[in-house]
């Protein structure tokens, strides 16, 4: 172990703060690049769908946003659980930093789904298992944020939020498998881990590249937010006070 990098060093807010700044900038640039390429493919390379016409182009944000809404929740619950088990301060801060971005992508998945449902299904909304469980995910994010905002002591807020986040994890497989377990208006997965995608290669490429763009954006936004949280919570310490004075 002595030869390698001591990764545990970065569990301290003081050492993680500057690293988070570098990573946020790097992932921000990557996010912009991937989204630019993804949007170009989505609008100019991928062909018109022979059934849905141009309406299907919503897929390039709908599916990546829906993936991110679930993935961010899992990452948030992971950090919340680590913080609960080991009492590491930075873990709770990471969970808090991820929640607003997760809520954003959950809302985007619901909003774009609604705008896609109207021209293809003839309705903005239906209470089927996929849509309802995704709406519950949005409420879980809101509940997590509201609960943490209601508790003044940050360490207690972390613990309470962690319990809520961990209980809510049960909703993620429900969302993912809802289209198999129940008879839903929402279609089944076009992309899965076990079989080839049932869509044109350029459509698939645009979707996956946009998913990487959203992923990198989420990392950048969460790291920008965790830097704010670190400054707010550690402002009493010498190193943070010095950073704030120097404006870094």
């Amino acid at each position: 172990m002595s030869a390698g990098i001591n990764w545990f060093k970065y569990a301290a807010p003081q050492t993680f703060y500057p690293l988070a700044g570098l990573l946020a900038a790097g992932f921000g640039v990557l996010a912009a690049l991937f989204c630019a390429v993804g949007l170009y493919i989505g609008f100019f390379v991928a062909p018109t769908d022979h059934q849905q016409g141009e309406a299907y182009r919503i897929i390039f944000i709908h599916v990546p946003a829906a993936w991110m809404s679930m993935f961010i929740y899992l990452v948030m619950a992971f950090w919340a659980g680590i913080g609960l088990a080991f009492g590491t301060r930075l873990s709770g801060m990471m969970a808090s930093a991820l929640a607003p971005t997760g809520a954003l992508f959950t809302f985007v998945a619901l909003w774009t789904g609604s705008l896609w449902g109207k021209p293809t299904w003839g309705t903005w909304w239906v209470w089927d298992a996929r849509l309802t469980s995704e709406l519950i995910l949005l409420f879980l994010y809101f509940g997590f944020l509201a609960l943490q905002a209601a508790i003044d002591d940050p360490r207690r807020a972390d613990r309470a939020g962690a319990v809520l986040a961990l209980v809510g994890v049960v909703n993620i497989p429900i969302i993912y498998f809802s289209v198999q377990w129940w008879n839903t208006l929402h279609q089944g997965a076009s992309v899965s881990f076990t079989s080839a995608p049932t869509m044109a290669a350029t459509m698939f490429a645009g979707m996956v590249i946009m998913a990487f763009g959203f992923w990198f954006y989420s990392i950048a936004a969460a790291l920008m937010r965790v830097r704010c949280i670190i400054l707010e919570r550690e402002r009493g310490s010498d190193w943070a006070a010095q950073l704030i004075r120097s404006g870094a």
Partner: protein
């Protein structure tokens, strides 16, 4: 190339409301999140920076 003209592109084959409604709101929310993050950071630096200057 999918589009014969710029207006063809914006018309989205008759689905302009749905497609641009999706992309517009998504882009808007991302911009709002970034603005809020930058303002939160600036607020911390000015608010807490001022306090530490005045305190003994």
């Amino acid at each position: 190339m999918n589009w014969a003209s710029l207006s063809d592109f914006f018309a989205m084959g008759g689905y302009a409301l749905y497609v641009w409604g999706s992309y517009g709101v998504t882009a808007g929310l991302i911009v709002v999140e970034l603005v809020l993050l930058v303002r939160r950071r600036a607020g911390i630096l000015t608010r807490l920076g001022r306090r530490s200057h005045t305190s003994p």
